[in-house]
Symmetry: C2
Subunit: 366 residues, 2 copies
Amino acid sequence: MEETGLSSSSSPSSVSRIPCPSPGGDCHQAFPELQNDTFLRAAWGEATDYTPVWCMRQAGRYLTEFLATRAGQDFFLTCRSPETCCELTLQALGMQVTMVPGKGPTFPSPLRAEKDLDRLQAPVDVDKELGYVFQAITLTRHQLAGRVPLIGFSGAPWTLMSYMVEGGGSNTMAQAKRWLYQWPKASHRLLGLLTDVLVPYLVGQVAAGAQALQVFESHAGHLGPELFSEFALPYIRDVAKRVKAGLQEVGLAPVPLIIFAKDGHYALEELAQAGYEVVGIDWKVNPALARKRVGKSVTLQGNLDPCALYASKEKIGQCVEEMLEAFGPQRHIANLGHGIYPDMDPAHIGAFVEAVHRHSRRLRNK
Amino acid sequence: MEETGLSSSSSPSSVSRIPCPSPGGDCHQAFPELQNDTFLRAAWGEATDYTPVWCMRQAGRYLTEFLATRAGQDFFLTCRSPETCCELTLQALGMQVTMVPGKGPTFPSPLRAEKDLDRLQAPVDVDKELGYVFQAITLTRHQLAGRVPLIGFSGAPWTLMSYMVEGGGSNTMAQAKRWLYQWPKASHRLLGLLTDVLVPYLVGQVAAGAQALQVFESHAGHLGPELFSEFALPYIRDVAKRVKAGLQEVGLAPVPLIIFAKDGHYALEELAQAGYEVVGIDWKVNPALARKRVGKSVTLQGNLDPCALYASKEKIGQCVEEMLEAFGPQRHIANLGHGIYPDMDPAHIGAFVEAVHRHSRRLRNK
């Protein structure tokens, strides 16, 4: 369903201007037909024959090796890390970003006071600033040749804000949280400004070929219920609502939206009501308890500990089996709660994927 | 009650050999009488007139300034950080430790394989290796002059293990978790060995003058329910059981034990049954839900977001009021879920302490 082409003539907004990699016009109609919609059907809450599975990469080393394996042929794979997403979005706002190896994106001139907001570029022309991302998405969609769906990404407003204020990673996010406590108005101004960029960025990704969207609130674990309710959740909701409206406005079919608030265990109920079809949970949350808390209205995604892939293949199989039984056979997308670590043996990623497929079929025949 | 002196003649084990700072014998009988046992009574689950409060320091700058304020006179204060505790314990095992400013303890030769366990010093003679800690505790107890009780500390086995394997801080603790998944037997050997050091270390702290003990599982947030049950909880339980037995064995009165597993929200029920009188919770856990989950058998400690101290004094007062109402008036020790950050205004720490005292008295008169 989500592979429905884009009728570019019906796009009144900026997203109609995305570059078309195939000469002579309506490139999106030319996207190869999707041959495996298991992930998308699970995301929409439809029954599937087995549990779909995908992972984020953290670094690139293992990718080609893994794709050469059998498991790699039937695997939902993304080609960008959430850190990269944050970097790109913030560059569009005029923030200078440098990638420091082993440290992720670093901002040499982080936001230090409300007046620093004035140096941000707003409103952002996402096609001009991020058109190359849309081109990459379109090319990737073509290269996938319909084997699996393509997932677009973005950091959520609070996570982006924390990068901008901290200037890089932080154990405590104390400077970003200081903003929330000391300058709530300025914080809301910044979060609103980030939301205004994210909406056309995500809509543009779908126009370019993304068949689902995941929004990462990677730094939810630094907030608590109160800060999250005030400074994260309203923007997470707003993104979903406005992206859905934006897709409709430009004549694009809806795509499933995924929200993953890492370490946001305290807000599961609220996240399940935030307008996303899928809620990601990390490996610190018991899947059966999570299902009890969120009800039946959403698909859950997760939640193998990425370090479990260090275990033997037999042990990985056991962990997967326990995970699948805890989630139940339907409305589940198997996933790690974090990127794959660069020192991970590709054969173990294969064991994970195969175990999900095998055990989830068995679970359905019980 | 916990200010009961030590009858050193009844101490058959190594703890009887702790150095005595006052010449001529039974120094512990000479400890000044405790004038404020509110904290200890709350820890034991007894009713108190107001809610006691204490904080950990993260760095030292503000301390003298704060102690000069009125709030500082009636404040339960510890003089060491958990990082320092870990450092000392691991040095006792023969690990070389260096303190890197801004990074905490760093181990130039971390454990990389099971054979590295052979280079650890075991069994450890804690009096020989850590006698200076005991001396510092005794001196501090004398210097406190009975104003407030003195709390001893240690990292829990998993947290200590993660430092030893990672060699320092880590965002993912992936190397330490790799041990748990790949080498479960070696991991249990190491965790057992650490428990064997912790027990006499904690008993020795009480013998030296500590009137309560807090065990930090600072890195619980990297585990999930399964790993925690297998590699953290059994040792946390074992520490409590053996410390209690050890105190009895050397004729020391029991002291309340506190367990604080940061980000261990998923294991609250188990922690409440682990043999500790007090369970600490961080600011990501709703206090009313926590109380519902743990029942009435333990005192809860927590849980103001340390960054809330960046807010205005009025806002700090509001946050404290909400927190106290959520915990209820009794069986609660107010606390931050983390150390005080070095850039914190001492006057705001004072506002926190005063707000706890003021609102908790008001709450009791409602």
